[in-house]
């Protein structure tokens, strides 16, 4: 039936007719809808104008749609691919009316993300022992803040969490993480500024084991992926973690800022090479940027998105859900 219609059918139901599962979907959708309000309003304005000014599908319409995708930072390669798919579908199904066209757009974005796989958005948690999650990324994307929020979420899910202050470089970074730990109410392992980050991880792991911690969240200093020495340092951090806990890090999450353009692809490539990235945290979706680069990253490198953040509060973080993300971008089209 396609994503478009299935979401639409849920939302057209009366609130008290919904199953529990549908209820949850609606709740989460509301969060995305609210969080991505600014993102959407700039995008929807354009789409709306687009659909209003055309009464049939033609080349100009395609060109303008392409423009909207490019403006969402999805990137030239993936946009061209997306456009080809949409065009061929429109041709095959002989689409004439706008509603049908809209549903094709949404389904195609969906399938670019999902491919033919089952996308696992759950965290890979070690059920019988310590889980270690390593956070990596360039400067200023929001690693530390995301760790605070994820710690809070996991703790609310009943996990015992601990933080490791691996950013020993940036002024004030250790204090910043400590403040988050206080807010969450969890322990935080720190060493003096300038210490070897790998040694911070080593100590944190020993402490986590001794205290029967479920999940250890490891912060690292932001670094541009082109800095060879700093990437080597990160490899070492990764190596120490996997040496100390078999199978760890269970997740290596690359944090990407939604305002990031095409450089996001370079980031994903380089950090994956150094630390085998398993998922993405997409931050700052509460602005006007769309974060479309993560679709390109998923499309070209296969890395899934695990979390999105949409605000500065400790609760402003959600498990990523492609349907909800698309809904957040296009919700006005569902009414």
């Amino acid at each position: 039936m396609g994503l478009f219609n299935s979401i639409k059918s849920i939302f057209s139901k009366n609130k008290n007719q919904l199953t529990n599962e549908e209820q949850l979907i609606v709740e989460k959708a509301e969060k995305y809808k609210k969080g991505m309000e600014k993102t959407r309003s700039s995008m929807m304005g354009k789409l709306k104008a687009l659909f209003e000014s055309y009464d049939r599908v033609n080349d100009d319409l395609f060109n303008e749609l392409e423009e909207i995708f490019i403006m969402a930072d999805i990137g030239v390669n993936t946009v061209l691919e997306l456009m080809d798919e949409i065009k061929s579908d429109v041709r095959i199904r002989n689409v004439a009316n706008m509603k049908e066209f809209q549903s094709i757009i949404i389904d195609k974005i969906f399938s670019i993300y999902v491919k033919d796989e089952i996308v696992d958005t759950n965290l890979n948690l070690n059920e019988n022992g310590l889980t270690v999650i390593l956070f990596v990324g360039v400067n200023g994307v929001g690693k530390t803040t995301s760790i605070g929020k994820i710690a809070y979420k996991l703790q609310n899910e009943g996990k015992k969490v601990m933080l490791a202050a691996g950013d020993t470089f940036r002024a004030g970074a250790i204090d910043q993480l400590k403040i988050w730990a206080d807010r969450v109410g969890c322990p935080c392992v720190t060493k003096a500024p300038g210490s070897d980050p790998a040694s911070v991880m080593y100590e944190a792991i020993q402490l986590a084991k001794a205290q029967n911690i479920d999940v250890l969240l490891c912060d690292t200093a932001g670094r541009l992926q082109t800095k060879v020495n700093l990437m080597k340092e990160l490899e070492k951090v990764h190596r120490v973690i996997s040496r100390e806990v078999p199978g760890a890090p269970h997740e290596t999450l690359l944090v990407i800022d939604a305002t990031t353009g095409q450089n996001g692809m370079n980031q994903a490539r380089a950090f994956t090479e150094a630390t085998n990235v398993t998922g993405i945290v997409l931050t700052k979706l509460d602005g006007t940027a769309k974060g479309g680069i993560v679709l390109a990253i998923r499309n070209e490198l296969g890395i899934p998105i695990k979390f999105v953040t949409m605000g500065e509060k400790i609760t402003d973080l959600e498990y990523f859900d492609i349907e909800q993300y698309i809904y957040g971008l296009f919700s006005d089209m569902f009414v």
């Binding site: 490019i70 969402a72 390669n77 400067n139 002024a171 970074a173 082109t226 996001g264 700052k284 006007t288």
Partner: protein
């Protein structure tokens, strides 16, 4: 695989269209598509790209490109010049009050580099203008933001004014300015909290801070990795605050930085500085031409193209091409070429421009004198010999060797190489693009090196980049 630079792209596109003399308007259209894609890949805003390529196209349709023997390079040059022009041909300096306390305020999205650049600017102004700056910690929201600025201040031995997080930024700024005046600080740099341009509450706070501080500069920090949204962000900050300058940060990475063009084009606000690292002295005045080549994906090689075009003007190049074709290329021409190339810099410098080779070159000794030796040998030839290379026989070679103080084997090598080069170039001039490609592939194999050593070059300083684009 995406093409890295506009030059590569155009080369690729031209392979399809060249080989039949002059270009048509359709060919230009094909090239414009490449220009467009290249700019989009560099994160230049879609709308800006559209306008920009239309302008470039109009220029490219001029005679020069259509008739040029190097149309791809002409287009690159036009795009490059336009980029440079739009981004501001001259760097704009900071505005200081002639007397009294100058006030700068840094604003921007979260994590773009405000705090770091508050420190960098303080250091820069102390060094360059002999200022006595005061840093002001007005970010009371982000955890440990004040600690961060205080730490930076300590590293620089520059005082930081802070009142903790229990006062409003308005109160802090007001007190800070009084404090600065009392303590003979002639420069106040205010670090504000990161915020979204669409956060009305926090944007109103910035407007109030502006009202209180009456800053001489409101500097917007923008992350060079920003994508299409750079336009919304800068436009919105500018509308609400009348920004006086932009600092483009994190340019030490591999981002193409198309945001620079978008911002300048849409807001007209000058980009004043580039942030080139986390260290506090890694700040430079904005260079439009370096930014232009970067956006085009050519590292700083375009600066080099400029140099090359200064050194080898197109008329001269055309004359050389004709000479090859008619087989009249002689030692005088060769000498002229060597001189042109030498004007561009050292051989090692030239080679270090090749991506990936730079670091390997460190341990390799390159005989910079080799060119001088060649020049000496040619100088020892008679005018007749230079003009008529075929007459150089064994006994003439003996004499030339003696005259130049070089070994006879060197003279032999030069004449042999010259002959090979002449033949190769003659062949090339009459080749179809396909044949040319095949030949280039052969040359790139080990053991098949071309005997003329030079097709790379570099200017002074720390340019780096890729293949010399005029080849």
């Amino acid at each position: 695989m995406a093409f890295d630079s506009l030059s590569d792209r155009l080369q690729q596109a031209l392979r399809k269209v060249t080989g039949r003399g002059t270009l048509t308007e359709t060919d230009i259209e094909t090239m414009m598509r490449e220009v467009r894609l290249s700019l989009l890949e560099a994160d230049v805003n879609y709308k800006v790209v559209k306008d920009f390529t239309n302008e470039v196209k109009a220029k490219a349709l001029g005679e020069r490109v259509l008739k040029s023997i190097t149309p791809g390079q002409q287009v690159v040059k036009i795009v490059f010049e336009e980029l440079k022009r739009v981004m501001g041909d001259e760097a704009e300096g900071l505005r200081f009050k002639p007397q009294g306390t100058t006030i700068f305020m840094l604003v921007g999205l979260n994590g773009t580099g405000k705090t770091t650049h508050a420190g960098k600017l303080a250091l820069y102004c102390r060094r360059k203008y002999n200022k006595n700056p005061l840093l002001v910690a007005a970010d009371v929201y982000r955890p440990a933001a004040i600690d961060q600025l205080v730490t930076i201040g300590k590293q620089l031995s520059i005082p930081t004014f802070e009142m903790g997080t229990n006062y409003t930024p308005e109160e802090i700024v007001k007190k800070a300015i009084d404090y600065a005046k009392e303590n003979k600080h002639d420069l106040v740099i205010i670090d504000t909290a990161g915020r979204f341009h669409v956060n009305e509450e926090l944007m109103a706070e910035l407007r109030r801070l502006k009202e209180i501080a009456q800053p001489d500069e409101i500097l917007l920090t923008v992350d060079a990795m920003t994508g299409q949204d750079a336009v919304n962000v800068s436009q919105s900050f500018h509308e609400q605050l009348n920004v006086t300058g932009v600092i483009l940060t994190k340019l030490d990475g591999d981002t193409r930085g198309g945001a620079a063009l978008s911002i300048r084009r849409v807001t007209g606000v000058p980009i004043k500085f580039m942030g080139l690292g986390e260290k506090l002295d890694q700040l430079e005045v904005f260079h439009p031409e370096r930014m232009a080549s970067r956006i085009l994906g050519m590292g700083d090689v375009l600066t080099l193209l400029e140099k090359a075009q200064d050194a080898i003007n197109e008329e001269e190049a055309e004359l050389m091409a004709k000479k090859f074709k008619n087989a009249t290329f002689d030692y005088n021409d060769f000498l002229k070429q060597i001189k042109q190339i030498r004007r561009l810099g050292s051989i090692k410098g030239l080679l270090s421009l090749i991506p990936g080779l730079g670091s390997q070159l460190k341990n390799i000794e390159i005989d910079e004198n080799q060119f001088n030796h060649i020049v000496a040998i040619i100088n020892s030839m008679t005018e007749e010999e230079r003009h008529n290379p075929d007459i150089i026989n064994a006994s003439r070679k003996q004499r030339i060797a003696r005259g130049s103080g070089r070994d006879i084997s060197e003279v032999n090598r030069l004449t042999k190489q010259f002959e090979e080069m002449r033949q190769m170039r003659r062949k090339m001039m009459n080749m179809s693009p396909k044949e040319m490609e095949r030949m280039m592939n052969n040359l790139n194999r080990p053991g098949g090196q071309p005997s003329t050593p030079v097709s790379y070059s570099k200017g002074k300083g720390k340019n780096k980049g890729r293949r010399a684009p005029w080849f």
